[in-house]
Symmetry: C2
DNA sequence: AGTCTGCATTGATCAAAATCAATTTGCGGC
DNA sequence: GCCGCAAATTGATTTTGATCAATGCAGACT
């Protein structure tokens, strides 16, 4: 029992995946947690650093504990795009077959992740219905989110995309959906790569939202939402008046 | 036993979901199939028709039997975008919460779908490990595919997107990955809405691929791949020489 | 305090794709 | 085989955002 307590203390005590009731490790019995923890590797990743390839290769299930991780694809001529963002609680399953390159995970903020072995993860999903429910529901959210993101990239203007991005940040940040102040979390160039824009366009776009009095920029990475309803409208693709005419 | 045989005969006999070993209903015992079939509604949908909203509302799990279904979002000023494509064997789980509009399913070719009740679908995923494996692996593919699609939309040129689209069609069509002739399946304007382009640009882009001798257009909807390697390169984002210079 | 260094912003061009407006082309029905 | 029509193509023009090139700024380090 001391061993068990110690085993948990070692890695998992205080880990958000365990302490937040909605997340995967909170669904586990003590025994399951100990078992899982012996096949998991928690790691800190500095901003801009890729997640260790060897680690991913051995344990291709990555749970995000803290920070933001991007799934990055680099085209052969250097164009970079970030196909998806993963936030606290998300589970990234990197197993894949097929002809297209899988892309690689990079930290877009200082981050903490925990990589799990496929065997223990699959076992959990098989045997623990609560863990399974969390895992499946996270997958479903990822699918729905990806669809929304495709709509953003497919047909929206730069300001619309940025409005959508601000809401994504708000939804995923600790305070949740009712904060007035939103932390953009990523650098301009990462926002650009994620939203299919150039950094300059991100900059101008945020300025434009400010000019329309939908937001106020507070320093480099914080935004105060001034008119949440109008910003939401814009994010959802309502054309949006070209600002208050004189 | 006659009843059982009849019950299967009624709806599920000859259904691809049952006859194709890789698909969900092929994983079920006779009893499970009968049970599921009593909570499922197979439907044909004509091209351009939305999937009946009431049907989706009652049974929000949609399995694609045949044809192509698109998840369509229409912005308030009429811009249309198709966030995802679903092909034979795909399972669409439309349950979702959250602020963004869910989008609606429309048939992009004449299609056949089967809508399942959440209860019986969840029961299946809970109790039948093989069915669960099929369902989860389909979700994982959808996630990976969506990521690839985001890369296409985020940073690729029109010809690159079209090359990627041709490969998507090839991968999902019955013949599979080694066909020379690919059926584009969708109309130009649907391709446009899916790939984040305008129909005119799709037309010009396909012409461009033909000019570069990567493909040959065979009628309106069929394409012969002339140089699969180079086309793949282009799809993957290698700049691509501006055609054979004189 | 002073410099260094990465980011962010700004401004001036440029190019790709969108838009607008006709035609043209196939294809299903007679 | 010939209509009729939706879909596809073509061409001219405009727009948006990318690109290129500085400049500005704030925090880290000495």
């Amino acid at each position: 029992m001391d061993n068990m307590a110690l085993a948990i203390a070692d890695k998992c005590r205080n880990c958000a995946l365990r302490t937040d009731d909605a997340l995967i490790c909170a669904q586990l019995s003590t025994g399951e947690l100990i078992e899982l923890s012996s096949h998991s590797t928690p790691t800190n990743v500095d901003r801009k650093q890729p997640v260790n390839a060897r680690l991913v290769d051995r344990n291709p299930i990555i749970a995000i504990v803290e920070g933001v991780i991007g799934l990055q694809h680099v085209l052969k001529d250097g164009r970079r795009s970030i196909a998806a963002l993963f936030w606290r609680g998300d589970i990234v399953d990197l197993r894949r077959d097929g002809e297209r390159a899988p892309g690689n995970l990079v930290a877009l903020t200082p981050a903490r992740i925990c990589s799990l072995s496929v065997e223990s993860y699959d076992k959990l999903v098989r045997d623990n219905p609560d863990a399974r429910a969390v895992a499946i529901s996270n997958m479903r959210e990822q699918i729905h989110f990806a669809a929304d993101h495709s709509v953003d990239l497919g047909k929206k203007s730069a300001p619309e995309r940025l409005a959508a991005f601000i809401f994504e940040c708000r939804r995923r940040q600790l305070g949740g959906d009712d904060c007035q102040i939103v932390d953009l979390a990523l650098r301009r160039s990462d926002i650009a790569d994620y939203m299919g824009l150039q950094p300059e366009t991100v900059s101008r776009g945020l300025k434009e939202l400010e000019r329309r009095e939908l937001i106020a920029l507070k320093g480099r990475s914080k935004v105060r939402i001034l008119d949440a309803a109008a910003l939401r409208q814009l994010a959802n693709g309502t054309p949006g008046k070209p600002a208050t005419p004189a």
